[in-house]
Amino acid sequence: MTDSTLLRPDELRPATELTQKILAQLDRALLGRTELHRLVLVGILARGHILLEGLPGLGKTALVKTIGRILQLEFKRVQFTPDLMPGDVLGSHILQETTAGKRELIFQPGPIFTNILLADEINRASPKTQSAMLETMQEGAVTLLGVTRPVPQPFFVLASQNPIELEGTYPLPEAQLDRFLFRLLVNSVNADVLHGIISDRRRGELPEPDWQLSRDQLKSLFRLMDRIFLATAVARYIARLVAATHRGANEATETVNKYITYGASPRAAIAIAEAARAHALIAGRPTVGFEDVKAVAPSVLNHRLILNYQARFDQMDTTKLTADLLARLDETGLKLPADVRLEDIKA
């Protein structure tokens, strides 16, 4: 049961300090990824799965490893390949002889029974294997031969995929994409960051974190997350935002009507709300504001919008569409006439 009273400053401040320490450790380990680190932490606090998309060598695996170390969570990695079978991920039953001389099927857990699972190059596995993780990602359990086994909590899937060399890959089905809270784009870093990397890191080895989060502290963060207040107006804005991604909706923009075939699901609205709460917690605020929603919405929506061919012709992608939608949709719902507007937001 969640406490409905607003967090007091003395309650929130230690939690915010913890999140800042986590971010500091991440920034220390991986240089020049401040915003990415913040969003990854948001995803973890929101207990969501994250799809990291970027070219090889940008530090996706290193990021996941570092998180595991900082949070002191069990971490396993699976390199997805076309011949990877569901049993290789979920685990399988092995026929073993018991001490009584009988033989019985013993369940051998797969790598998914961990706290953080790094699914590397997830799009290289067959859809059968990819779909094997659906139940676990949503329900936090694995069902084999009629027996459901819960995975350790917290459980996160941090998957990575390579946007190039798509031959022989299996793009993730929409149902599985929808289960990822965020799709985060890992971009290249600039020369200054590269200079820092090669100056401070021998052979690219990551520095060991000098501070780690205990499990109790993580649990307390999760508890406080539940008490971050989501005002009705903000919830309404999230609902209007997700509804506006559907073609023909009342507040759908011109670009939405032109380029989107299918909009975001209700799960997207839930994801935005949870992620916005986490973002507010990191920012040290007891309530969710519009800026929190705007900060997380692009990462939530960018893999949930199905575009049409016209979008490809016009080189329109979900990132641009989401940015356009966020810019045009009035957060407040004042519905002012076109010639009346509020002055720009105070700096």
Partner: protein
């Protein structure tokens, strides 16, 4: 109320008021603009269809008040929700949802946050609305300022005869005041004048002008008739006055001559017919009766002289009034003054005393006295140069020439683009709407036939006649 509420509630209320006021003003202006446009169209149509009543404009302008109130009410009904206002306030001040949350939960622990919150500035791009309003107002003003000749497209274009009608009404009233025109007749003429004014139409002005001319001529005829009568009476009164004064100046031993003069005075009083006609005298009946019988004592004679002078003055005043009303020619007024001049009574008295008691006709003497002429001794011989011409076979019709118009009272009816033509002939100047009309009447306008009327004239002569064939 939570502390955050206590900080932000007044600002929120102020912001909501500003927002509602701005939206109400905007809607009221937009509605007023459309209202003025519609009013302009109504005014324009009304002016096109006939005479425009300013009451319509006032009703339309007064209608702006309930319109504005309705706009305010409508805008109040659809005003943004307080939650939206809170959201706008929160967003502008980067309160991170605290102001929004304050409506749902206790945020007192965070009262320090957002303490410096400011009202979000509202910006209204009013150019379009104000432009529309200004255009509507200008349109309405334009519909009012368009001259009638451009605005009126109806079949019954109004004809402004206000000035002429007013002048004629004053003339009728003047005739009624002077007892020249009977009251019932005056009422009838006024009704006729009002009817003419009501039915005045620019499409057929001749009909209106003809009716006005008829009334004007009737009034003028009556005034001239009265003037002639007044002049005649004035002349008779002047003679009577002279005789009366002469009687008083005779020597004491001339009783017989005085009696003869008294008889002559009685004859003049009778001829003057003071108690008849348009101008009835105001001499007391017993004094008038005594004067007609020639039995006046000196006191009565003196009173009679006073009354005669007073009546003469009244006649002169009446003619002066008629002249001011432009009903008679100023020459008539001069004529009346001349007629009212009293001959020299002292000279007449001396002459009569010298002539003794047998003057042939005192009246003829008085005509001659002071008028010059050939002195042939007593009695005058008429001067005849040839035989008088016979009027047999010649018809004369009396025609009263119109009063010369006073140009300062003229009215501009229109400006011609063409060069005015100078009448080089010695033909007399003609004025009035009836000028150029046929002697037999029927038309008050002289139409100039132009080449474009050729087909109409041809059609007229080619029509099938219904007259019987000429008999051989």
């Amino acid at each position: 109320m939570s502390p955050v509420d206590s900080i932000h509630e007044p600002a929120l209320a102020r912001f909501a008021r500003q927002l509602h006021t701005l939206l109400g003003l905007r809607t009221a202006l937009r509605w007023a603009a459309w209202w003025l446009l519609a009013l302009g169209v109504v005014v324009l149509v009304a002016r096109m269809l006939g005479p425009f009543d300013l009451l319509l404009l006032w009703i339309g302008l007064i209608g702006l008040v309930p319109l504005t109130l309705t706009a305010g009410f409508v805008e109040w009904q659809r005003r943004p929700s307080l939650a939206a206002v809170r959201a706008a306030f929160d967003r502008y001040n980067h309160c991170g949802g605290l102001v929004m949350a304050a409506a749902q939960t206790d945020t007192s622990a965070w009262s320090e946050s957002g303490a410096t919150a400011q009202l979000p500035p509202l910006r209204w791009d009013s150019r379009r609305t104000l432009g529309l309003f200004a255009a509507a107002a200008l349109f309405l003003a334009g519909t009012l300022l368009i001259p009638d000749r451009f605005a009126s497209l109806s079949a019954a274009q109004p004809l402004d005869i206000g000035k002429q009608a007013e002048e004629l009404r004053a003339q009728i009233q003047g005739l009624e005041d002077e007892k020249i025109l009977k009251e019932e007749k005056a009422v009838e003429w006024k009704q006729d004048l009002a009817k003419v004014g009501k039915e005045a139409s620019g499409t057929d002005p001749a009909k209106t002008w003809e009716a006005l001319d008829h009334l004007k001529q009737s009034a003028g005829d009556l005034a001239r008739q009265a003037a002639e009568e007044a002049i005649a009476k004035t002349a008779q009164l002047a003679k009577a006055e002279a005789l009366g004064q002469t009687t008083g100046l005779l020597p004491e031993k001339s009783e017989a001559l005085a009696g003869k003069l008294m008889q002559e005075l009685a004859a003049l009083i009778n001829a003057a017919k003071l108690d008849e006609g348009l101008f009835k005298g105001q001499i007391p009946p017993e004094l008038l009766e005594a004067a007609k019988k020639g039995a006046l004592d000196p006191a009565q004679l003196k009173e009679l002289l006073r009354q005669l002078q007073m009546n003469k003055q009244q006649l002169a005043d009446a003619l002066q009034h008629l002249n001011e009303l432009k009903l008679i020619d100023p020459a008539k007024l001069g004529e009346c003054k001349k007629a009212g001049q009293c001959p020299n009574p002292e000279g007449l008295a001396a002459f009569l005393a010298e002539q003794g008691e047998n003057p042939e006709s005192l009246a003829e003497l008085m005509e001659m006295l002071g008028n010059g002429g050939v002195n042939r001794g007593p009695g005058a011989a008429p001067m005849t140069w040839q035989d008088p011409s016979s009027e047999d076979g010649a018809r004369f019709k009396e025609q009263v020439l119109p009063v010369k118009p006073n140009l300062k009272d003229s009215q501009l009816s229109g400006v011609s683009r063409s060069t005015p033509e100078v009448n080089k002939g010695n033909s007399p100047g003609v004025t009035g709407a009836l000028s150029g009309s046929a002697a037999g009447g029927g038309s008050a306008q002289a139409q100039l036939l132009l080449p474009r009327h050729k087909s109409a004239v041809q059609r007229y002569f080619k029509r099938e006649t219904t007259l019987p064939p000429p008999t051989k």
